[in-house]
Amino acid sequence: MIRFLNYTYLVLIIFFLVNNQEAQAYINPGSGSYIFQTIAGGLLSILYLCKKLVLKIFHLFVKNKNE
């Protein structure tokens, strides 16, 4: 599970590094966090769904084993 999460974060990091170009305009302080979320939003969703799926499968196996 941890290996899977680490792998997904790695994909996210590579995605960010490849795509994020320098933004050369004046913006309000704090906007960096805002923009950062918009870039990472899609992958955060995928990560969350994958985590839920993996946990569901894991619980299914544990349940079957207990039964």
Partner: protein, 487 residues
């Protein structure tokens, strides 16, 4: 108006007849009504996550901005994140995320994620800012994400990977430790963890890139779709406050699922942060003490007797270590609440763990350096109050402390007595004479310039501010415990 809430447009906190109230401005009317009616308030109260309040009408309060007045349940003592130990800050962070998750269920969201919005009540963190909720805006990122990282994630990561006392950086950074600073301070080991790399390192890069200003953008140079997208967002973000039509073009497409993913990821990150094995200066203090078992028990009995006599509502235990005598105090008197201070954050951490383990509701462990108490900070030095302004109590407990203040820190008895007398009416203090083995250790590496460090001088100097009511020698040691009353 209270000096802590002037930045908030939605309302403000004020004191009336010594009690805390909050005005809700008409500008926040719709959000407040939705917050109460949608069931979110009820759920948060039920789960003891939010401070309950009552709507009141005060005839004296009348101004054109007034929508409603609320009276929140009163909190005895206000403490700040730079006074908390690691576990206290971690619990406060998890509570904030939990509240955001609950709010999302009701289509609402937190607009602030300030650590100052959390206080400790009956041994647990509780959210105190009723006006922090707003309607969840579809496709908008979490506006408080940056603040959450600065107020919680950055200090916790630094405490976990660098030094347990680094939450003190919040004193010099009232709106949280800048992510870029945290990134510079974190060791490589921490940065290599994917989740930290994501929320701190990449986040810091994004902030840095966003703050580059004054250049004309050139779409032809190294453009790419994200460059163009960012440029549009940046231009739009400039105008958000002005409600420019440009805001409509922003279209950040941050779905609710992404928001849930973000909160879940932050929760994993915070839960994952742990302290390395604690090496507290005072951890073995009681096992390495020069007291015999009988003398130690007798000391506890004397404290119990004094506390039973005084029956104080509040006690400040200064130099409490892991809070052993704070526990003696609360066990002696069922209504007494004890603030348990120590300079060593590792000892405070141990103390808080005991509070959780024993489910104690009347002890609040906090870090405090008595030789340099928490200062007042913020705008006009009035946004966050100093230790002295916030903590006054019925009884001060200062056990095995005087030699650290007088000998290690060269503080004259007179100054110590004067300061203690401003904190509480009664004082229970232990005098540790020069020939005590602990004092001898302190003197072993320095010249003894303390000719006035005698019991007689101690009594004389303290008598300037206190009347000595009782004095008890601890059998089997050279120490004496005094009960004094402020003049």
């Amino acid at each position: 108006m209270n000096n802590t809430s002037f930045r908030d447009n939605s309302g403000f906190v004020f004191k009336h007849n010594g009690e805390i109230y909050r005005q809700i401005n008409t500008v926040y009317k719709d959000e407040y009504d939705k917050f109460i009616s949608c069931g979110l308030y009820e759920e948060l109260i039920k789960k003891e996550m939010l401070i309950p309040h009552k709507e009141v009408s005060l005839p004296d309060i009348n101004n054109e901005k007034l929508y409603k007045c609320i009276k929140p349940e009163q909190i005895d003592y206000i403490s700040y994140p730079y006074e908390w130990c690691f576990s206290e800050l971690k619990e406060a962070a998890l509570l904030t995320l939990n509240i955001q998750k609950t709010a999302l269920k009701y289509n609402m969201s937190l607009k602030d994620a300030s650590a100052f919005n959390i206080q400790f009540k009956e041994g647990k963190p509780i959210f105190i800012d009723t006006l922090s909720f707003e309607t969840y805006k579809e496709n908008q990122p979490w506006i408080a994400y940056g603040q959450f990282c600065r107020h919680f994630l950055a200090p916790l990561a630094l405490m976990s990977y660098k030094d347990i006392s680094l939450n003190k950086l919040l004193i010099t950074n009232i709106d949280g430790i800048p992510i870029e600073l945290c990134c510079k301070l974190l060791p490589l080991k921490a940065k290599l963890r994917p989740i930290i790399f994501f929320h701190i390192v990449l986040h810091a890069i994004s902030i840095k890139k966003s703050e580059i200003k004054g250049h004309k953008t050139n779409m032809n140079k190294g453009g790419g779709r994200f460059f163009a997208q960012n440029r549009l967002k940046n231009t739009c973000l400039e105008n958000i406050d002005n409600e420019s039509p440009c805001q409509e073009k922003l279209n950040p497409k941050f779905s609710k699922l992404a928001m849930t993913g973000l909160i879940d990821s932050l929760e994993d990150c915070i839960k994952d942060l742990k302290l390395p094995e604690l090496k507290t200066e005072w951890g073995n203090y009681y096992t390495n003490t020069n007291y015999s078992k009988e003398a130690f028990t007798q000391k506890g009995d004397i404290i119990t007797e004094f506390i039973k006599k005084l029956r104080p509502e509040t006690v400040c235990d200064l130099g409490a270590n892991r809070g052993d005598f704070s526990r003696t105090v609360i066990n002696a008197c069922p209504q007494t609440r004890c603030l348990s201070f120590d300079i060593d954050p590792a000892a405070v951490e141990e103390n808080y763990k005991l509070v959780k383990q024993n489910r104690e509701t009347r002890i609040l462990p906090l870090t405090l350096d008595l030789t340099n108490p928490t200062p007042a900070i913020g705008f006009a030095n009035k946004e966050r109050c100093s230790f002295t302004e916030r903590f006054t109590c019925d009884t001060v407990l200062a056990l095995a402390l005087i030699h650290h203040l007088a000998i290690s820190n060269n503080l004259p008895f007179n100054n110590i007595a004067k300061y203690f007398s401003t904190i509480g009416k009664y004082l229970i203090i232990e005098f540790v004479p020069k020939d005590d083995s602990k004092v001898q250790i302190l003197l072993s590496t320095r010249e003894d310039i303390f000719q006035n460090y005698t019991e007689e001088c101690f009594e004389n100097e303290f008598s300037n501010y206190y009347t000595i009511i009782e004095k008890r020698a601890i059998t089997g040691s050279k120490r004496t415990i005094y009960l004094m009353e402020r003049r």
